[in-house]
């Protein structure tokens, strides 16, 4: 994708982070992604 003429980079920080969660009660219990197989949905 061509974004056109670029401006200087900026640093953006959200007011609230929707993924920010308190530390898990037990180490190793962080949310994990479920692996998925590619190409299962017909085009």
């Amino acid at each position: 994708m061509d974004i056109g003429e670029p401006k200087p980079a900026i640093i953006v920080e959200p007011i609230e982070d929707p993924f920010e969660q308190p530390a898990p009660a037990e180490p190793g219990r962080e949310p994990v992604e479920v692996p998925v197989e590619p190409e299962k949905v017909p085009a």
Binding site: M1, I3, E5, V36, E37, P38, E39
Partner: protein
Amino acid sequence: MSERVPDVIGEMIGWRAWQLVGSVRVPRLMSINAAGRVGHDDAIWPTKRWYTAKCPNGHIENIPVEGCSCGLYAAKTREHLVSLRYGAYGDQAIHAIGEVAFKGKVIEGSQGWKAEYGRIKRLIVPYEFWKYVDPLADAYNVPVEVGFLFSEAERRQVLGGR
């Protein structure tokens, strides 16, 4: 990230298109054409964390690197996304479009964005994929609408008048 002083407090909003992968039970969204650049796993947008840009050219920090193709891309508007010929229903499999929010290092272009971190804010899926609405909403915790990704006029535009 936390050591950098922000220039903007908030998020930058853009429009992207995705392919659906997985199943109706476990649907996920994959960046268009990205699997060949960064690998299948890294092309799938995660559900519980920010999607972090990776560089196919070996940069490991300060992404998106100026002058490199790395970074998460988005159009500034839905209209711009259409003008980029996404969603032609023909030569590319586009299963969803939607708004994304960016944080971290962001480069604004005259027509779009390149960014370090992104998350999905809302989605639109075509009618034929209505079964994915609730599973996608649950997976990504965002509003998901059913509708035409592109109007008939837009489809004629991207199909070159066919």
